[in-house]
């Protein structure tokens, strides 16, 4: 048991399960999954589907944070990619054709990749502090998205596009497969190549890594490119879900939720050691919390406060300091009692 508790994913998983249990107690149908027309439905399925944009953004954010950076521009990149994709579909003569949608999606992802490259260039090559470098795009990106959509909310109705966010594959939401594939791809690349350890090295100490011959620049650049690209995919899922490109609402504040997810998952903002599985769990925690708010019918005025309170509790649950206090209170501190007895003896002697 104690070995299990030492595992670094123990507390994140614990928090997630606790949230699910609390929800289920409040309303048992929370964990109910039903089959309709050969497709699964239920609150849990919704969580797995709706978390897709945040998941993709948080995965990219994990890589960036591992290099000691931060990417504030993800929300803006989402807006741009949604705008590019939907504007292309909107302008095409056959918005319902799969090939049109595929081309539009690739264009959206391509633009996001370039935006990621831009961030990476500012940070890795020009040595600009990540927070400032990505702030540029965070502020400018939505403007670009508005230019692309001519200042309107572009709405499209295209079957293949709708499928991205709301379609089903093998009885499960298609969006689930997108983020599973992204998480798996990152985890595999990181394990099967040396990317994981080299990224951590760069994050822990860039100068020491440089002296050891690590291509720090390339690795940092790569992380921002990954983050931009994943944010682009997230933007397309988001737009597909609302069937519109909304330059102002797309990915609003998502950078902060993504950072929160990464930290909840156990990756330090100081860079270095990171965990993909942790981030996945962190996102699921946030998404579960989000649906808890809906599910429990917390009014929209109260929901931010409710959200904040739960997040604080989750963070406290995971804090090593709090664990220490917990152990001290329950008297689990090794050898303490024995020492005190001996000290007394010495004093009297």
């Amino acid at each position: 048991m104690t070995r299990l508790m030492k595992h670094r994913l123990f507390w994140p998983v614990f928090s997630l399960l606790a949230l699910i249990v609390i929800n289920t107690i409040a309303r048992p149908q929370f964990i109910k999954i039903t089959m309709r027309d050969g497709e699964f439905y239920g609150a849990l399925i919704d969580i797995l589907r709706n978390c897709a944009p945040l998941m993709l953004v948080a995965l990219g954010m994990t890589l960036v944070i591992a290099t000691r950076g931060i990417d504030l521009s993800v929300g803006a990149v989402m807006a741009v990619s949604g705008a590019v994709t939907l504007t292309i579909i909107d302008g095409s003569s056959s918005p319902g054709s799969t090939s049109t949608v595929l081309v539009a999606i690739l264009a959206g992802i391509g633009v996001s990749l370039v935006l990621g490259l831009w961030n990476g260039f500012l940070v890795a090559v020009l040595d600009i502090q990540p927070i400032i470098a990505t702030l540029v795009l965070m502020l400018a990106g939505r403007g670009v998205a508005l230019l692309i959509t001519d200042g309107f909310i572009t709405t499209v109705n295209s079957e293949p596009l709708n499928f991205v966010a709301t379609g089903y594959l093998f009885a499960l939401p298609f969006a689930l497969f997108i983020w599973l594939a992204a998480a798996a791809a990152i985890a595999i690349v990181e394990r099967r190549t040396a990317l994981g350890v080299l990224t951590e090295a760069v994050g822990i100490n860039p100068e020491a890594s440089r002296l050891a011959g690590v291509r720090s620049r390339g690795i940092i650049l790569g992380a921002y490119v990954a983050s931009g690209t994943l944010a682009g995919i997230a933007g397309i899922i988001y737009s597909s879900n609302i069937r519109a490109a909304d330059a102002n609402a797309a990915g609003d504040l998502i950078e902060l939720y993504a950072i929160l997810a990464v930290v909840l998952g156990g990756t330090s903002l100081m860079g270095g050691k990171f965990t993909i599985a942790g981030t996945v769990i962190g996102v699921l925690i946030i998404q579960t919390l989000d649906s808890t708010i809906l599910f429990l019918g917390v009014s929209s005025a109260q929901s931010p406060v409710f959200f904040a309170i739960v997040v604080v509790i989750v963070v406290l649950i995971q804090s090593p300091r709090v664990h220490q206090w917990g152990r001290a209170l329950t008297g689990g501190f090794r050898t303490r009692p024995g020492t005190e007895v001996r000290n007394d003896a010495e004093v009297t002697a």
Partner: protein, 502 residues
């Protein structure tokens, strides 16, 4: 005898399941300089951290002036008059020297920081240590030795009753040491109790009244320095006879050397650090580098290994001009550099010992050609064995090793690259007597196997012992290159300090 100012009884510190310190008793009297001795990993730094509140005792107690104390943090200890300079310098590189010195004890005026006073205070205490630098300059710009002196300045800038110095002299030259010792004697006069850790026996015998020896976290004994023979001290630390420490004699090369140096540098200049330097590094030879603090030793090493860009001059490897624009390209040519600054330019504390050892090799192979985990383990294990890294645990974060063992991990990282030219900047810093001889022997062996080694050390005797030739650097210029047969410790000291005298 008077009452000890500080007393530890049954001090025990556990890290996980291992005891780094196991029931150690220690006492310190006012006005004495007390040395803690022991091999790398013996528990010296752990004992010190327990005294300064940087670490909590698992059991045992600490008394100051007979009163049981419990320091929750170094700040509490400071309040009680215990100041410390840790082995791994804990200053902030991106703020000024003066701010570092006053950190936590900033002089205030009307509630605001009194910058003028701060600068004056810094100036005074630096002058006391014989260090003439601008207190307003940014700390990180200075060499490691200067940073070490600033850390000391910080510790003595406020009245302390107990001063703890964990390997304060590891990067200092003779002159700086002399200044430091003068200050220590002065403090001692004033009744300050001082704990002094160093792997240099000479220094211990010069300055310390009493020594406490630790081995594997346990107390071996407490002795008066003047009654304790060196050979007995070494034996107490190692737990075996000092006989086993035999420096192997360097093979002296035949006069007919290979016609062409492996690496040759001509008219190399870098910033203001090194000027117009010519260096030839020959296969099978150890080139010692001797020079004072700030003479350009490190700058020279960095220039030859692609760490810093050259402002002028050329470097040839086996006769072809090469531009070693960055460490990567130097490594691919077989030229590697081990930094003097282990903490900021060497070890990656959160990565495991295995990852640290295989890092450079992995980086050289590239991201996509990962070394198989089994091969990584095998490789790392072979170096852990060869260099006797302790504990031999490959999965432990490297930052939890003792200072000396971290140094060995760094050496292993470079040696795993099978380099042709090995540039070692203070490779024996912080390494204990036993391991030092091992490293020196290893350097000799590597040279015998055809490597070309540059060996930089502030300890001139070591340079002389290990080097076949000694390069003398002064004020960023290479003064001379002398075969070590033609030098003695004294003549080298004189050459380094005052060239015209010889």
């Amino acid at each position: 005898m008077e009452r000890p100012i500080l007393e530890l009884t049954g001090a025990t510190v556990y890290f996980g399941a291992d005891a780094a310190l196991d029931g150690v008793d220690f006492r310190l009297f006012p006005g004495e300089v007390h040395s803690l001795m022991g091999e790398n990993g013996a528990g010296k730094s752990t004992l010190i951290k327990a005294i300064t509140g940087a670490l909590q005792l698992t059991s045992g107690e600490l008394r100051i002036d007979g009163e049981v104390m419990h320091f929750g943090s170094p700040h509490d200890a400071q309040e009680a008059g215990v100041r410390a300079v840790y082995q791994e310098i804990d200053l902030l590189p991106n703020i000024s020297v003066a701010e570092n010195i006053s950190l936590g004890t900033e002089p205030r005026r009307f509630g605001l920081i009194d910058w003028k006073e701060m600068r004056e205070r810094a100036h005074a205490v630096l002058a006391d240590l014989g260090l003439d630098i601008d207190p307003a300059s940014i700390l990180g710009r200075h060499s490691l030795a200067v940073q070490q002196l600033v850390a000391i300045a910080r510790a003595i800038s406020t009245e302390a009753r107990v001063l703890v110095l964990d390997e304060p002299t590891s990067s200092l030259d003779l002159d700086e040491c002399a200044e430091l010792f003068r200050v220590i004697r002065d403090l001692k006069e004033r009744g300050v109790a001082i704990i002094f850790v160093s792997h240099f026996l000479d220094q211990v015998y010069e300055i310390c009244d009493r020594v406490t020896v630790l081995r594997d976290g346990k107390l071996v004994g407490e002795y008066l320095t003047r009654e304790f023979l060196r050979i007995d001290l070494v034996q107490a630390m190692l737990g075996r006879s000092a006989e086993s420490l035999r420096a192997r004699p360097r093979l002296h090369l035949a006069d007919e050397r290979s016609t062409e140096p492996f690496l040759s540098a001509r008219a190399v200049s870098v910033g203001s650090g090194i000027n117009d330097a010519d260096v030839d590094m020959i296969e099978g030879e150890v080139l010692g580098v001797a020079g004072l603090l700030g003479s350009g030793r490190t700058e020279l090493a960095r220039a030859l290994t692609g760490i810093d860009k050259l402002d002028g001059g050329i470097i040839r490897i086996q006769g072809t001009d090469e531009s070693l624009g960055n460490p990567r390209s130097a490594i691919s040519l077989g030229v590697v550099y081990s930094s003097e600054n282990r903490r900021t330019e060497g070890i990656l504390s959160e990565l495991s010992v295995q990852e640290n050892i295989t890092l450079a090799l992995q980086a050289e192979r590239g991201v996509f050609r990962r070394i198989r985990p089994a091969r990584q383990r095998e490789l790392a294990m072979s170096w852990v064995d060869a260099l006797d890294i302790r504990p031999p645990d490959l999965d432990r974060p490297a930052g939890t090793l003792s200072g000396g063992n971290q140094q060995k991990v760094l050496l292993a990282r470079l040696l795993a690259l099978s380099p042709r030219v090995l540039v070692l900047d203070e490779p024996t810093r912080g390494i204990d007597v036993g391991a030092k001889v091992e490293v020196q022997n290893l350097v000799g062996e590597l040279a015998d196997n055809g490597l070309s080694v540059m060996f930089i050390s502030a300890e001139l005797e070591e340079v002389l012992r290990v080097g076949n030739r000694v390069l003398i650097v002064q004020d960023g210029r290479i003064l001379d290159t002398v075969p070590s047969e033609d030098l003695t410790a004294d003549s080298l000291t004189a050459l380094v300090a005052r060239p015209e005298a010889v």
